[in-house]
Amino acid sequence: MTQTVDIPGTIMLDGPMATKGYPLNKMCYSFNNAAARNEFKQDEEAYYEKFKLTEEQRDAMRKRDVIAMLEAGGSIYYLAKFAGLLGLSVQDVGGLQTGMTTEEFKAFLVKQGEI
């Protein structure tokens, strides 16, 4: 019944992941709000505590490790708000996850668009 297809390099946000990632995603969702973004910037550790992030999630946040955030249940739509707070584009985030530079990642995107 439950989807358990293994697609390499793909972490699906399913029930267990959504449960696990809830505090992390709720924190990142709060970044819609400018006051929340400022509060985070002033004291990241206090902000993690406010949303009761797990140790795994705090560690991923500290290291800005997007893959680790996904593994800790992060949903990309909320993580994108965190990336925005850091001033990163989706291509920067793509580079971080694939181990490419942003320029390499952009070139990779262009290549796939070619006929």
Partner: protein, 283 residues
């Protein structure tokens, strides 16, 4: 496998919470209502279900009509009540059952029921009053609850045939869960009543009793009604019958009526308490 051991219909109106808070159970007005409950409490205490799947409707605590889910399911480990506007005292949290909730949610969406899935959900009197009726003194913390919320407020709302099918799909989902859990299902609300309009105050005793009969022996007959039929026959809020129908849908095996107490009026409603024992279908 998880096993549905029974289904219960019960009222969920706020006036019950007030009556219990003020110790009015033995007064002439309330006694005929509360006297129905001990056999059901005894059954629950004897059978000790691990999980309650509870069908209710939100009356404007968690959901507003800015976004009104047709069907919503809670998947959290805990749920809280809050001020609903008239100062019901704050009560202890309700325990959730995340794993089975998610299993049901997965199964339902695959089955064509596109649920709103809630990891946080304030639960109102529709859910808490039945729990307090079954375990008075708010002593329900030991039992794990899966809230299933049905829109009974704003038309269009799901029709009885659809809520019955939702119940059946939940029944199948529970049967396919691989942990040994005892599950009881509550269908709450109703029965006939109308709160709004010059027609406020109508109660249809005959129809309510016929519904209870049909919930036992011929639930399919109830799926022939449309919501507007229910409004006409059982009042504007008579559509809360949908929760009772959904509960009956989950009982996909054999049922046996163990107890019933119909009483009207309590507040503006007809109250139908019924306990159905359920035997899961053979594999």
């Amino acid at each position: 496998m998880a096993n549905i051991i029974g289904g219960i219909t019960t009222s969920h109106i706020p006036a019950i919470a007030n009556a219990m808070a003020n110790g009015l159970e033995e007064t002439p007005y309330w006694k005929p209502f509360f006297d129905g409950y001990p056999p059901v409490r005894d059954w629950l205490n004897e059978k000790k279900p691990d999980v309650i799947i509870l069908f209710y409707n939100d009356h404007g605590l968690e959901f507003f009509i800015d976004k009104k889910p047709t069907f919503a399911i809670g998947v959290a480990d805990e749920y809280h009540n809050a001020d609903e506007g008239w100062g019901i005292p704050t009560i202890p949290p309700v325990t959730g059952e995340s794993d089975l909730s998610w299993h049901i949610a997965n199964s339902l969406v695959e089955d064509g029921f596109d649920m709103t899935i809630c990891q946080e959900m304030k639960v109102d009197h529709g859910l808490t009053v039945p729990l307090n009726l079954m375990w008075p003194g708010y002593n329900y913390g030991h039992v794990k609850v899966i809230p299933v919320c049905i829109n009974c407020e704003q038309h269009p709302m799901p029709q009885p045939k659809r809520t019955y099918a939702l119940g059946q799909a939940i029944g199948r989902a529970v049967a396919s869960f691989d942990q040994d859990l005892k599950v009881a299902v509550f269908g709450t609300g109703g029965m006939s009543h109308q709160l709004d309009g010059e027609r406020a105050g109508i109660i249809n005793r005959e129809f309510d009793i016929d519904c209870l009969d049909k919930l036992v022996s011929d639930p399919e007959a109830l799926t022939k009604y449309s919501n507007l039929d229910l409004v006409e026959i059982a009042g504007a809020q008579g559509v809360e019958l949908n929760m009772l129908i959904a509960m009956r849908g989950t009982l996909i095996g054999e049922v046996k009526e163990l107890h019933r107490n119909y009483h009207a009026p309590i507040s503006n409603t007809g109250s139908g308490l019924m306990l159905l024992e359920h035997t899961m279908p053979k594999k």
